[in-house]
Amino acid sequence: MIIPMDHGKRVYKDIFELLPNEQNPSPMVRINRMNPTPGFELYAKLEWMNPFGSVKDRAAWAMLRDLEERGEVNPKRGFVEPTSGNTGISLAAMARARGYHMRAVVPNKVPLEKKLLLKIAGAELDVISDELCPAPGLGDGSINLAKTHAKAQHERYAMPNQYENEKNVEAHFQTTGPEIWRQTDGRITHLFVSLGTCGTASGASKFLKGKKPDIKVIAVQPTEGHDVPGLRNVTQLGVSKLFDASLVDDILEVEFRLAYSRALELCQTEGLLAGPSSGLIYEGAREIILRDKQGLGVMIFPDNIFKYTSNMAKHIAGLMSGTQA
């Protein structure tokens, strides 16, 4: 006999039922020891608790469902997508579970863990010399190579294109935003995000500002020439089609190495095994909290540290010492 699915008992009929939404939100955890101003409540929304391991589960699912509903994918016609890792991992695992193939075009500088995870999740891998994060525009990077595959082998590939796909924004408008509104009982005053495709910032901000226009949305960016996969520096924002400046109140630029040292501190002080983009967002939130003193802030922590051990070893002095017999 099949065990009946039961949200209360956390028994599900398939992995997709674990995807986050207002009834099944990703958890929010209060920051305690690392909160510099007790008058300001600060929470981390742990997107790595999503079933495929990152905030990108949301966009990947919305884009996949849209293509399915429009009859654009089938067992012979799968996906090709440029990715710095997380979208590809989510999309590959989802695609394979539904019987589609997946090809991921990845910049070479993406950490080895992510490349291996993409293969483990079932993606065919194209690694190319490119900037760290696939950048739209004139470069012949991963976005254009993915577009080339989609155009030359139209019968084999549909390209969701997370950099231009409105479903990416819509996913956060329909899930991330309402979850936060409900989880904070509408008390949220500050939202802290990073900017990659800008889907999270645009979608969640649009929903929350619709509920409460004076909510401050703060985007945190690494310094130019950074080494934080998936994120975009402010100088590259003009090229992201999903970026809407009217939905972001402040863009903070943070020295990228702090992404790694703050991530380490979150791991060792709060028990939050947060990745470098979360470390960066925390640093930005810290600056604003010290400035604004009062409020309730939510930080979207995109993924955890597990995929970044080699990057951590590169940027945290002494981490490698004592790891060999």
Binding site: K109, L138, G139, D140, N144, K147, T148, H149, A152
Partner: protein, 282 residues
């Protein structure tokens, strides 16, 4: 728009290429630094040349010999009388280098596809294929050797004394010596900076946001009026490995019509390694 260029025929639009697909005397050549792009999809009928392995001598640092060029081009089914259209990745940098190489070996009817492979890729009415073209190899005999298109070190020293235009097309940080090469590039030099008396005019100055060349009037205004390239002088363009400078060489020679323009393909990876060569910084 191309009518005001000095030699408008050398530049063809993506629409022109589409209209002329399949014509037996028109040969398409995609030239990339990374031929993954060609393999993933190219214009129907185009052959693909790899800039690193097919247009460079694989033993010494040099362009391929006349014999190697004849062999490569003949094997691609190209005859001396054919119209050859080159295009490629990275805003046509490597295609412009290929154009320069074809001209060195005297090919007559040569065109560059404005905007390169990215423009074609992003136009909905243009198709790409993974099918290899049907090529019938021919005997190709190069008609000449136009070495006056190329600058070698002794001439560069001479030019740096001020009687020539020296155009450095690298990024401002490479020009000032803040960096020796763009991040992640393996070809580098012992010293940073620029050749004395060179003017910094990055290659991208010549292109519009969609990767096509700016109109002739604008190019003239930028290069001659604003940046001080003297059309009465002879000119040398250089960069780091000679591909971005091919792009500017094309602009100066064919779009603006300057006489006697040379590409210094040794560029900074040669000059910045020369013992005793004078260098300016900042």
């Amino acid at each position: 728009m191309t009518a005001n260029y000095a030699y408008p025929d050398v530049l063809v639009s993506t629409d022109w290429v589409k209209e002329n697909l399949g014509k037996s005397n028109i040969k398409l050549v995609e030239i990339d630094v990374d031929t993954k792009a060609y393999d993933a999809g190219h214009i129907p009928g185009a052959v693909g040349f790899n800039w690193q392995t097919q247009l460079q001598d694989q033993v010494r640092r040099d362009i391929i010999s006349k014999e190697a060029f004849e062999k490569l081009v003949g094997a691609a089914g190209i005859s001396p009388n054919d119209t050859v259209v080159v295009y490629g990745d990275n805003n046509n940098w490597f295609a412009a280098y290929g154009f320069w190489l074809f001209k060195i070996y005297g090919h007559q009817d040569l065109r560059l596809m404005n905007g390169g492979r990215v423009k074609w890729l992003n136009e909905p009415d243009k198709t790409l294929t993974t099918d290899k073209p049907n090529v019938i190899p021919v005997e190709y005999k190069a008609s000449g050797l136009n070495i006056d298109l190329r600058a070698m070190v002794p001439l560069v020293f001479e030019a740096s004394k001020g009687a020539w235009n020296l155009v450095d097309v690298r990024s401002p940080d490479e020009f000032t010596g803040k960096v020796i090469a763009p991040p992640g590039m393996s070809e580098t030099a012992q010293r940073g900076g620029h050749i004395p008396n060179a003017k910094s005019i990055p290659w991208s100055t010549a292109v519009a946001p969609d990767g096509t060349f700016k109109p002739a009037e604008e190019l003239r205004s930028i290069y001659i009026d604003q940046r001080g390239v003297d059309p009465k002088k002879q000119t040398i363009a250089y960069c780091r490995i000679g591909e971005r400078s091919s792009h500017t060489w094309f602009v100066l020679k064919y779009l603006l019509g300057l006489e006697n323009v040379r590409n210094y393909d040794g560029s900074w990876t040669e000059y910045g390694n020369l013992v005793g060569a004078p260098i300016e910084k900042a």
